[in-house]
């Protein structure tokens, strides 16, 4: 009870409903008179769509409706949430992103026709009857090939396939620093394309009540309010109050369920035309081809150092592959989220980032855990190891020399880091990783003909785009509404997601309640006030702060009621955990008594009855978790097989409300990062644009026996200085830090200068042969 619930490793209260199978995901929802939808998708990467012959499908048994691109020409396209200004002062190019393909097909898996039928089997059978008349065009899948290619995706808007050319930083100052450098390290890096692969495939059920002209959309989505806003304001023109978006339990998102997608948009339109519910559940093959992909950067990076190994300047040129269209958040990933993190935890005084973002005949990319920051960390941490190798300096020591030592620290890329202690964090992880035992472990490996190596990765993360982020068409903020019931229990309504236990702990602690007396409502535009939901990681640092502010207001109002009951002024009261006590040591009243009085107007004459408050919180700047991760690998030089032997991480998440859940976030993020470094790669055939990694046999997610025991700790002693909870969050930190840690370790083991991800046996073996040659 009370304050003791904060900081306690409480198991999650929501677990039993998942563990007993009672939790309802979108695919579990069945509505009366429900129909079923199937999408006909583009079989080729690039083609002119000459005609759609859907007559046979329309006449097939059980079919109710067939929609094509022509049915959506009057609607808006799927919008970009960001509008960047290019280096030439012009706005980025925003080609129309159709709901269903109109004149052209631009990637394999693009939705072309929607077939709605009485049963799923009937919809599938009818979809097979749809004929697409196509004129195939050459496909461009790699950003470097696409830029300026003869084959153009969006002829009118982006004749060279360029979406934007954007820069950040002072190019002249960086140039001057390079001119006086004692040493320059250069590295070419590839941050490969990933497919996020939330385990729950996307699903939606749209329904419409023609009598009330009201629609409801159940959809597996991270941000129901944003989904509704974009659907209503940008695409279908429905009045916002007429559409309710409900996100049931979410089976993983990682950013891939944050964009507004064509599928649910088409489904909603279909249900409005039919007046019946329409349901669609993606198959895994559809998820691979049509979920937003991620990463996909080509980068040239160079670091200038002085004679003492101090960083003078960093220059980065990146070519980012956006895929065929701009997904909702895609524009901010290789620009704002990326460039602003290129300082890492280092003092580098001059940084210049030059990004060109390119359209190609591939699935659109969008944010995936650590979006932009993961790519930045990989650039910086690989470059530092490379510089250390060239200069003969210990890579740990080179980092120590360049760490930021005083906070707050203003980076040259615009990010203000309020707090942190990178040096202490590094020392903590070196202890955790038992480095003193490393030489002995290395000797054991060597005796078996194996190579052992260690790799370090240090990072700073910026969790959550602050309200004023350049180019954002929506601002990040979160709201919370607290409803106190007459018996004292509290219902919390917030769009912030995924923290039922944490939020209940927070409320219970301040009001002196049991966590069971606090109920959370989330994920429903019909029941919770506007907020951005589970985007960008900062549920606690933003959503938690909104709840904290609402609690401030609630306690203020409760104090006025208490003063009335205790016959004094509010200033004459002391408050602690749900209990007001007169300062003169007199009478006191508890939360249940207050709640009851609040609902009996006669008990508090002159005061407004009820005890409900709401508050909003918009962060003035992102919170900045930081940390150090150390990976230890064993590599078989004969086969290129990499085994992760140990993984140690120390993360500074600021104030932590529940260490059990914080450790879970650390583990999860690390697994995503190690998956990228070791196994995962989305591949398209370079000649015809077919997706080659379209099943779990071809796209390797980390399995239980691919990953090691994960040693994680929290850094101590720092908190976020600009939010009331001191929380920095950290749900994405592992995905940011782990890739460089693993690749640095493999390079250390084999004495390699460069190695591209994923470090598959084939690639490691090949790198070894090239290095020898």
């Amino acid at each position: 009870m009370s304050e003791s619930t904060i900081g306690q490793a409480l198991p999650r209260r929501e677990d039993p409903r998942f563990l007993t199978g009672r939790a309802q995901f979108a695919a579990d929802i069945t509505l009366p008179r429900q129909t079923h939808a199937v999408f006909v998708r583009s079989p080729c990467a690039h083609a002119r769509l000459l005609a759609v012959d859907a007559q046979a499908a329309r006449e097939a048994p059980g079919v109710h409706l067939v929609l094509t691109g022509a049915d959506f020409r009057a609607c808006g396209g799927l919008p970009s949430v960001f509008q960047l200004q290019g280096v030439d002062g012009q706005p980025m190019r925003e080609p129309r992103h159709p709901i269903l393909a109109e004149d052209k097909l631009r990637h394999v898996g693009e939705p072309v026709v929607l077939v709605v039928a009485e049963t799923l089997a009937q919809a599938q059978a009818a979809a097979a009857l749809v004929q697409l008349r196509l004129q195939e065009l050459p496909a461009v899948v790699d950003a470097a090939v696409a830029l300026g290619a003869a084959s153009v995706l969006h002829e009118r808007v982006a004749p060279d396939n360029l979406c934007f050319h954007w820069t950040l930083g002072d190019a002249a100052a960086a140039e001057a620093a390079f001119a006086r450098a004692a040493h320059v390290t250069r590295l070419t890096l590839r941050n490969q394309r990933l497919i996020p692969n939330a385990l729950e495939p996307r699903a939606a059920v749209a329904s419409h009540d023609p009598a009330e002209d009201r629609s409801t959309l159940y959809v597996s989505h991270q941000s129901p309010h944003l989904e509704r806003l974009l659907l209503c304001a940008e695409v279908l023109g429905i009045p916002e109050p007429k559409l309710r978006v409900i996100a049931p339990e979410l089976g993983g998102g990682f950013g891939s369920k944050a964009p507004l997608y064509a599928e649910e948009t088409a489904l909603l339109q279909a249900s409005r035309q039919l007046g019946r519910p329409v349901k669609w559940c993606a198959t895994r093959a559809e998820s691979f081809a049509a979920d937003a992909h991620a990463r996909d950067h080509h980068t040239e990076a160079e670091l200038a150092l002085d004679a003492n190994g101090e960083f003078l300047a960093l220059r980065v040129r990146t070519l980012a592959n956006l895929g065929a269209y701009l997904s909702s958040f895609a524009a901010c990933v290789p620009s704002l989220l990326y460039a602003s993190l290129l300082a890492g935890p280092y003092r580098t005084p001059h940084i210049h980032c030059d990004t060109r973002a390119v359209f190609s005949n591939t699935a659109p990319v969008d944010g995936f855990s650590g979006a932009g920051r993961a790519e930045a960390c990989y650039v910086v941490e690989r470059l530092i190891d490379c510089a250390a190798r060239e200069l003969g300096i210990d890579p740990f020591e080179l980092r120590r020399r360049n760490f930021v030592r005083r906070f707050p620290h203003q980076t040259p890329t615009g990010l203000n880091i309020d707090s942190g202690d990178p040096l202490a964090t590094l020392e903590q992880v070196l202890g955790l990783a038992d480095l003193s035992g490393y030489p002995a472990r290395q000797a054991v490996s060597a005796a078996r003909g194996l190579k052992r190596g260690i790799g370090l990765s240090c990072y700073v993360e910026a969790a959550g785009l602050a309200a004023g982020a350049t180019g954002a068409r929506v601002g990040l903020f979160e709201t919370a509404e607290l409803r106190v019931h007459p018996t004292g229990g509290v219902t919390v309504c917030t769009a912030a997601r995924g923290h039922e236990t944490l939020f209940a702990q927070l409320v219970a602690a301040r009001l002196g309640l049991r966590v069971e007396d606090v109920e959370l409502v989330q994920g429903d535009t019909g029941r919770v006030p506007f907020g951005l939901g589970g985007l960008g990681g900062p549920s606690l640092a933003v959503g938690g702060c909104a709840i904290d502010r609402a609690l401030d207001k609630l306690i203020l109002k409760a104090g006025r009621i208490a003063a009335r009951l205790l016959d004094c002024e509010p200033e004459e009261l002391r408050y602690e955990a749900g209990r007001f006590e007169r300062l003169d040591g007199g009478a006191a009243c508890g939360w249940a008594e207050l709640a009851q009085a609040a609902h009996r107007p006669q008990a508090i004459p002159g005061l407004e009855p009820g005890l409900n408050e709401s508050a909003a919180y918009a962060p003035i700047q992102p919170s900045c978790p930081g940390g150090a991760h150390l990976c230890e690998v064993e590599v078989d030089p004969r086969t290129g097989q990499v085994r992760i032997e140990r993984y140690s991480a120390v993360d500074d998440m600021g104030t932590v409300l529940n260490p059990l859940l914080a450790a879970g976030q650390q583990h999860g993020g690390i697994a995503l990062g190690l998956g990228q470094a070791l196994l995962e790669q989305s591949r398209y055939d370079e000649t015809n644009g077919q997706l080659l990694s379209a099943s779990y046999l071809d796209y390797a997610l980390p399995r239980c026996d691919d990953l090691p025991y994960l040693s994680v700790q929290l850094a101590t002693g720092t908190r976020c200085l600009h939010n009331p909870l001191g929380a920095k969050d950290g749900s994405e930190v592992g995905a940011i830090a782990a890739p460089a840690a693993l690749i640095n370790a493999v390079c250390d083991a084999l004495d390699l200068r460069a190695l591209d991800m994923p470090a598959t046996p084939w690639r490691v073996w090949q790198a070894l042969q090239e290095d020898r040659a």
Binding site: D15, F18, A27, L250, T283, L661, L701
Partner: protein, 159 residues
Amino acid sequence: MKQALSLTVNGELVECEIDARRSLVELLREDLGLTGTRVGCDSAQCGACTVHLNGHAVKACNLLALQAEGAEVRTIEGLSPPDGSLHVMQQAFQDCHALQCGFCSAGMVMAALDLVQNTRCESEADIRNGLDGNLCRCTGYHNIVRAVQQAAALLPPRR
């Protein structure tokens, strides 16, 4: 083409006429309303649909319902008593924070139970090898392994 099918699901006799093409997971989810068994892929690669068929873990997306003729099927809904208390394996998952989004959990619990009851499962490596047919994208498996270790210490092997 419809065919007659008779099997036991969570201790109750089920007799029905079904399309011969129907998979076991479709029967469970669509016809019997047991949606606790999830579908994460449709090719037996993710393990979210793991249920027990005559006491052994199977992937229900990859079996025809007719293949379960006469069998005893147990799903996640049949694991814990109706009073809301949890089975030892479920409790271990909660205690160890072995789930985040919860989508893989039903299949993971069913697979883990088969593993500890029906196989030699003594070391961490045994557990990691034994669970490699079940994908989890949230936990890095760390706490899942801990949960299975905790439950294994409490559950007698059946073999």
